[in-house]
Each structure stands twice: as C-alpha cells, then as structure tokens.
Subunit: 433 residues, 2 copies
Amino acid sequence: MSFTHRKSIASHLHWQAKFPPGDAANAMNMLSAREVAVPPYKFSDRANKITSSVIREILKITERPEVISFAGGLPSPVTFPIELMRKAFDKVLDTQGKSALQYGPTEGYGPLREWIAANLRKSGAKVAAENIMLVSGSQQALDLLGKVLVNPGQPVLVETPTYLGALQAFNLFEPVYRSVASDEEGLKPEAITAELAKDAAFLYALPNFQNPTGRTLHEGRRRALIDRAIALNLLVIEDDPYGDLRYRGEAQPSLLSLATQAGCDNVVRMGSFSKTLAPGLRLGYIAAPTALISKLIQAKQATDLHTATVTQMAVYEVIKDGFLDTHVPRTCALYRDQCDAMLAALEQHMPEGVTWTTPEGGMFLWLTLPADKGYHSMTLLDAAVAKNVAFVPGEPFYANESVPNTLRLSFVTVPPDKIREGVKLLAEVIRAA
Amino acid sequence: MSFTHRKSIASHLHWQAKFPPGDAANAMNMLSAREVAVPPYKFSDRANKITSSVIREILKITERPEVISFAGGLPSPVTFPIELMRKAFDKVLDTQGKSALQYGPTEGYGPLREWIAANLRKSGAKVAAENIMLVSGSQQALDLLGKVLVNPGQPVLVETPTYLGALQAFNLFEPVYRSVASDEEGLKPEAITAELAKDAAFLYALPNFQNPTGRTLHEGRRRALIDRAIALNLLVIEDDPYGDLRYRGEAQPSLLSLATQAGCDNVVRMGSFSKTLAPGLRLGYIAAPTALISKLIQAKQATDLHTATVTQMAVYEVIKDGFLDTHVPRTCALYRDQCDAMLAALEQHMPEGVTWTTPEGGMFLWLTLPADKGYHSMTLLDAAVAKNVAFVPGEPFYANESVPNTLRLSFVTVPPDKIREGVKLLAEVIRAA
C-alpha cells in the first residue's frame, strides 16, 4: 500500500476527530461558496451533524482482496438460503403476483406480523400481531424511534460503548447522550439513577452479544434493569439482531419477556432477518405497545409508505414452516468454529497485557490493548492495513468519552485459516507499535 | 351502510379539522395518563405533528367491494409485468444470489444508477451515475430531502394545492408552508417573489399531471420558473412520478433539463418505478448535484443503510434492454381509455356549474363544485359513500388556506364501465346535496 493510501485513513479519521461534523460541513459550504457560486441550498442543522460511517470509510479503504478484514460485519454468504429464496420469490409472484407488486399496508404483511408475534409469545412476551410493524431493516427501526421519541437536546441513554449505527440514526434527531457505566458483564443497572434517567427519551440496549463488544447481559442484571426502568418510568429499547446466533451458554430471557412478567409494557423490541436469512433483503421489525406502534406506523407512512411487499411475502414463504429451526443451528455451527478459531489464535499470538471478550454468540469480539502503553487503535489501523489486516477502532462506538486502546474484531466474514493468519499479523503489528 | 359507519368519516375528518394534530395527540396522552399509568414515553414535537393520511383512512372505510372508489391512487394491477418480474428475480438469485442477498452500497446498485443517469441524459439533463441515489420509493426521497434541507420553522414553497404525501413527509421536519399561487395551467412563476422565496429551503413542484389536480405546467412557465429560481438562488425539487404516463399533447422539457440548458444545477429530480413497473417494489430515485447527493447518501445510510439489493437487481434485469419502451405505451393506452371514459361521463352527468381539469396524463383529475352553493366535499363524501362511490376531498391537499368545494378523482384503478356508473352516482349525490 502506498504512503498516500495509508495517510488517507489516518488523516480522514484525524480530521473527523478534530472538526465536529457540523463545523466541517459549514466550512466546506463556505469554501465552495467562495470558489464557485453560492449553492441554492443550505444543509439543515441536523444534516450538518451527520458524517459517513467510519466503518464504511474503512471498508472502502480495505476492500483490496489481499486485506484480511475483521472490520466489516458482513454475514458469510454461504449461510444465505439462496435456492429457497429463489423458490419463494418464484412462488409468490406466480400465485400472488398482483398483491405482491401492489401498494401494501404500512404496518406490513399480515401473516408475517402474526408469525413474528407468535414467535415472541413463545419467549413469554405478551405481543399480538397488532403490536408488530415490519421495517426496512433494523436501521429503519432506529430512525423511526428517533423520529417519534427524540426532541433536539433530549437525553438518550446508551451503553458504553454502543452500536455506532444507532448513534448515527439518533444523531439526526439531535439528542444528547448519557452513557451508562458498563463492565465486562455489560451495563450496570445501578448506574441508571433517577438523575441519569431524568427527561430521557429512552435507554437503548443490545443485551445479546452486543455490537461492538460481544458482551451478553445475564439474567440477574436484566431483571435489575427492568425493575429499575419500571421504577423510573423509563422506556427501554431492546435491539436484538444477533440473539439467535448463540454458540455457547444458556439463552437469556428477553427484556420484553421480563417486562411482561413484571406486568409492564415499557420495552420496545427490535429484530431483524439480516442475520438469520440475509441482510440484502432489508427486513426487520419493531414490537411496541399499541399507542406507540400506531405512532410509529404513522411515521413510517410519511417516511416510505411501506416496506416492499414482495420481499415480505417471500420471507414469510421461506420461514412459515419452521425453516429457521434447522437453518439457524447450521449458521451457528459455522460461526462458532470461526469464533473459536479467533479466540484460539488470540490466545496463541497476542502479546502479554492484551485482553479480549469471549462472546457467547453474535459476530464481534472486543480487544483491549494495555492501557499504560499509549496505544491508539486509530493510528494502529494504519500500520495494520499496511500489513494487510483490518479492524474497526473502538473510538467511534463511544457516545461520550472514548477509550482509545480498544478495537472491534468481526469473526463472521473470514474463514478460520484466514482468521488465524490475520490474528497473527495483527499481533505482530501490535508488538511493533 | 349503517349510520355509525357514515358518521365515522364525517366525525373523523371533522375532528382532524377542529383539533390540530399536536394538541389532539397531547390531549390523548393526558387522557390515557389519567385513566391508566403514565406511559414511559412522550412523543417528540415532530411526532405530534403527524396524523394518519386522510386518504388511507378513507380507503379503509371505503374498501367494501360494492364501493366504486375514485379515492385511491392504486395503479391497475393488469399493468404489472408479473411474469417478467418473476423471471428477473429468478435469474438474479440464480446467477448472482450471494451479492443480491448481501449488504449493498447505500447509493444503490451501480448498473441501475448508470441506467437512470443515461435515461435522464437523453432528455438533455447533465447527470452522471454519481448524481443518482436509489431510494425505497419516492416517499423516501421526500423524507430524505426534508431531513437534509429543512430546519424547524423554515419556509417551504408548495403549489396550490399540492401532493398530500409530500406535506406528510415534510411535516416531520416542521417547516412553514408558503403556497405559490396557481391557476388552471399550474403554478404562476411570477408569484415566486423574492419575498416569498426568502430563506426558503426549496420549492416543491410536480410539473407533469400533478397530484391532485392533473394539471401540467407548460414550457413557457417552466422556463420562467427556472429563470426565476436561478435569479432568486432557489432550489427546485421536481417530483415526476407520472411523467411517462402521457395520453395526449406534447411532452414538456423537464425542469432538470431546463436548468442544465441554463447552465445551472438548482434542480433536484425525483422519479419512481411505482407507476411504470409496480408500486409494491418500493423503488425510486433522486438525481441531485454532487455535494447534495453526498449528504443525501449519508442521511440514507443513517436512515436504512440501503434499499433491498435483490429488488434493484431484478428491476435492472427487467428494464435494461428497453422493456419500458414497449410496456409504458401499453399502460398509457389503458389509462387513456379510462381517463376518456371519466371525462365523457362527467360531461354527460355533471350538473351545470361543476368544472373539472382535462389531464394530459397521470392518474387524477380535479373537480370544482359551484363556489356559490356552499358545497363542502368533506361532508359530500358521507353522502357519496352511502351511495357506494368514493373520492378524496380537496381540503387536505392545501398547505394553507383550503378550497372546500374541490375533490380529487382517480381514473386508474376502476375499469371504464365502473367509471361511468360511479360518475353517474356521484352526479346524483351532488345534485341531491
């Protein structure tokens, strides 16, 4: 890789850190205004708060085939049920073509709403089809929840660290973030004080195999969290895209089911078919109490009318007779091997003082470099890419104060032999830093 | 139809008129707070500004099969190329399954961006693939443009009347609307004064077969509009979902091509495959200048990552070899007949003093009842539905002061014999009112 190329990552990320997005965008507007004509538009304040995802920028820079990338969260395409999806689109268009291609209800395809509600009821949650709205992937759920619940300047509670894509979605609605203290077992329920929760729109949490850390919140903390949220009348958003991808340990009760047990409906749950079927379908769901789901449906109507009918019908066709019961365990077997390969390689190659999480499932683990040696994973990325291995630096996952000696590794995209090779390379880069 | 049922439309619409949505939603929150527990959330200010689409509410009430509905804008399903779409999904999943089901670029599928850009260049616009972003239907284009360009309280210029769905999308970003004076030939360019355009985010216009009026803006006014917009440095959003559905008269140059001719890039163009292929696919596009499309892509990334890959690839497969060149004329022939049937029936049955537009294309025409007889199309709808015929009252299409003696009729959903029968019934209802 050329010097210029290497420089581009560091300078890009440095530039992002140095100039808050709003100022940078304004500065650019002013520049282009001086150099050419004044553009016939100004970005809104909220638009000045967005920048491109750091992850997507890194993915672009590292997409050379010789780079072993632990950066992206792309599910392995060998898990996609391509032939079944093909047959399902074929059948839906053959037998119900007119309704599959017509405008549909904003809330989604009825039988699929029923299926999702029935599935959630199995886990002990009290949910009817009327509480379900289909969305164009989990990311849209985040957008709609931000739209409907967040006023500019309002607090939103997040884990430390938290999912970068959620911060990007919520940023458009201009919240202030309050970080909930967390340790290796996830967020600490006792950190959610009345003061922290005051005026908050909600707490956003990923209890299973969290992105980015791979941590799982266990039952004791889940119960404590729900009790606390009820006491403080705080809405909890449970984002669970990875919950079905468990490789070891006991399944934990969902926050939604615990709220049902407590006789309270203060949990909104988000789910996705991106990790169990395929992400390119862009299909996820929100389960929410009646008054809230009604407002979310109105917001979705104004946002994109509805999610593609043909995709919803095809997905229902694939899953309606229990396909996921046999398919998900096969995906888990594959990812478990890759996760184990990464854990073993880390054990074998990483220098003294480097620590990492041991995820019970999901797609990611979290590496912490010795705190006392001045490591900064943003600059480490340059050296890593020069050696043909990539990861995502930890900093962008922190809503407030960040920990620079952390990084995220994905184990789902790359096969075991490449994982071993990539971890060895990464260990060398860390040693040399 | 029962009294209760009839009453529900009137009271629903009356209630909407009497209570601004924000107040109503707050009142309901307070009620439920008193009666049950305080909900663990409050809607955002912007969420309090949304209500469900009046059209969708009417559609629900009038979906009994015996009602002849001129209310909805559902394309006729006989125009959907079902078999071709089936083969296209089949081929895409058979030959490119892994990429069709994987995460894709936010801006959309490359070859489809190229196709759209080439198509726009044919009309004289200066557009590269890099200026195109695929979106989940035109409605999403409206959401993203509002997100990126509108600050709360900022003026947005709209036609009189204008597309209700655009008002719903923009409402979430809390603009104030300034209505541009219009006559039977569409908006009056000279009405766009410096005072009207001051601080405006943009002018939103539907120059071809406008929804709801069916009016077309002709070349002279288009040129005057573009000149004026350039002089005032005003951004123009050209929404053109129906442009290909022309039944008579000369095709008019797009606003985008006129801006290119004038050497200026102050026009953003929106298009859709909903009317030329099928709406259930949820596929449309935005063409915009480089700096603006980059920001829109960032906003879409935060909003839903990208539009379903498999749908984009299947649509490209269907259209890449010129299918629309033979398909669209067939759709036009069908809709022309239905449009003519409606125009003839109106001529035959409507009482003296009722006037209507003669659309050159599209899906709608606009009826004006004699102004001096106190007609109110909102209350007229009750009587109409009791006689098994439905339409959409004109009021919700006005951003500011509304004209109560107007209504919108769609001629695309119902076949000619039902159109004749429905218009006859509607004429009787008007006579009896």
